[in-house]
């Protein structure tokens, strides 16, 4: 933290908010604590940087002149109406859900964004209450999450190494997908000239947001939703017949229905719908030998393939 810089920028905001007219640079230099005693060049640099920093925070610093006939007198001001949060009104029920939302990013990369937004709402009179019964979390501890998030907000392109250092990708990010705690960014891959999805945990190193802002347009939300849908298991397309022993594998039994085909002794046959062979074979192998696949061949073979690999290994007692 740099207290002097914070003080100077806060004083600049107050000064421009209080101004009834556009203030020239010279006037600002004289009025704002922190600009005095600098060389002309140092003042100009510092003022430019402060202005950029404040605009990045969303502070609307207007440029203009008080006298339209002599426009050489460029000045600055902030109109309170553009600066201030308009009146907000949330119902009791809405304040309760916002109170729960307030903790979603505790300890995560987006925590500062969330607390700054909630601070503003509370300053505008919103009271956040929490019962603590419901505690959703989204994860996203990686700093990359917050860089990507703000880059999308500012429509800045991003650049990062993916999977390993040196494999650089440049992307116009459109949106973020969070599926089962895993964060993805989806957008236009500028080198491959096609939409691609990237898993943020596979970024090697840091994500860099590139200037300028507003470099591209966002597509319709449906485009991002379609990408999210592609991550979900494929729709059910087929039915397998599995034999389940006793009361094992309740999930599979509930998903399926009794099948009138013969099953080994102690087992009952069920018809179970599935989306992909890999998915049902994973489940059947994982529950073996309480679950045996009777058909189709494709599913049984994939399951047996997994089991044979494990069955061929020695037991720890067989090694000595």
């Amino acid at each position: 933290m740099a207290p002097r810089k914070t003080e100077r920028q806060l004083n600049l905001v107050i000064c421009l908010l209080a101004a009834r007219r556009y203030l020239t640079r010279e006037k600002i230099r004289d009025s704002v604590e922190g600009y005095q005693g600098l060389s002309d060049a140092a003042f100009q640099r510092m003022f430019e940087r402060d202005k950029d920093d404040l605009r990045d925070l969303g502070i609307p610093i207007e440029t203009g002149s008080n006298d339209s006939y002599f426009d050489d007198e460029q000045g600055y001001r902030i109109l309170p109406g553009d600066f201030e949060l308009p009146p907000v009104e949330f119902t009791q029920a809405e304040q309760v859900v916002l109170g729960i939302a307030a903790h979603v990013f505790d300890g995560a990369a987006l925590a500062p964004q969330a607390s700054s937004a909630l601070g503003k709402l509370q300053a505008a009179g919103v009271e956040l209450s929490t019962t603590g019964f419901v505690q959703p979390r989204l994860g996203g501890d990686d700093e990359a999450v917050s860089v990507v998030w703000e880059a999308i907000a500012g429509r800045r392109r991003i650049r990062f190494d993916y999977r390993e250092p040196g494999l650089t990708r440049r992307v116009e990010a459109w949106g973020v997908l969070v599926r089962r705690g895993v964060w993805y960014v989806y957008g236009l891959d500028l080198d491959r000239e096609a939409p691609r999805m990237f898993r943020l945990s596979r970024v090697a190193g840091t994500v860099e947001a590139l200037e300028p802002a507003e470099a591209y347009e966002l597509p319709d939300r449906s485009v991002v939703e379609a990408a999210a849908a592609s991550l979900e298991p494929t729709a059910v397309t087929d039915t397998a017949v599995v034999a389940i022993r006793g009361t094992a594998a309740p999930g599979l039994r509930r998903r399926g229905s009794l099948a009138s085909v013969p099953a080994p002794e102690g087992y009952t046959a069920y018809a179970v719908p599935y989306g992909s062979v890999q998915e049902i074979a994973d489940q059947a192998a994982g529950a073996a030998p309480d679950v045996l696949v009777l058909g189709p061949d494709e599913v049984r073979d994939a399951t047996l393939h997994r089991l044979r690999a494990v069955a061929a290994r020695p037991l720890s007692t067989e090694l000595a």
Partner: protein, 322 residues
Amino acid sequence: MSTSADQVARLLALIPYLQARPGITLADAAAAFSLSQKQLMADLWIAFMCGLPGGMPGDLIEVDMDAVEGEGVIRLSNADILSKPLRLAPHEVGTLRLALQAVREIAAPESYAAIDSASAKLATMSWQDGPMAVVSMVTGDESVRQSLVDALEGQRRVRLTYEGGARGDTTTPVVDPAALVVRDGFAYLEAWATDRRGWRSYRLDRIIAVDVTGEKGEDHGRPPLRDDWLSDAASEVTLRVQDSAWWITENYPTSATAGDLVTLQVVDPAWLRQLVLRLGAEAEVVDPLAAQDEAVLAAREAVARYTTWSGAGDVVPGEGPV
């Protein structure tokens, strides 16, 4: 980490917030902004130094620093120019709406309307649309969530019908619910199991039914953090994995990776057994070898059964691996 820009943004909310709540305690204000009291003190010292141009006493923001340091209460005044907070930035609106999407995934259906209307109001509060995001979690059945939220709010003891853990049997534990939480995209009920006299987590998508017992639940304090449970009971198992199975490092608690070796934190041997069986040739336990024995025995029994059963003639086995 706090940057100067974060601090400016925060002060522009903090100053109107404190001005509207004269006499608020340091602790309450720090909690409202998710700050330590030390950070908040640093912010107050900055506010104390700022104000209208001129720098005369009447121009500066007034903060009674004696009251802050002595009694722990904040009185901030003479900041009329900052009586309202700065408008929300698009990424801030996006962040809150994303958080509300997470809330909606785990909430009881009775809250959907409030979540949707709060999100719609937020969407109008910035000058540009925030980033788009889509969230999906495994949070089970809506009616189960509603019953659990009702039990939590009414402090009721309930009987769950639970399609258990890795062993895959159905149990009916009687529990006092404490919280609904999310870990790695899966929702869990944290509850005090009355028969076990201990804290248990139940995955929401495996809870088939929730029945009220008519008894009042007891207060058992707060459930411990999940991380503590793991370190108590977990043992380390190292697997050699192929690239295609590398996803396990992103989905399960991992204590180390080196080359193609992954060390997992394993609490339940039955969980490891099903993982080894489903990964097949893609992963093999290397240490301790005995950790794999259950899976090997299960696989041998299963392969034998496949062979015998196909002998019965109904299903012809395919030869060799796929």
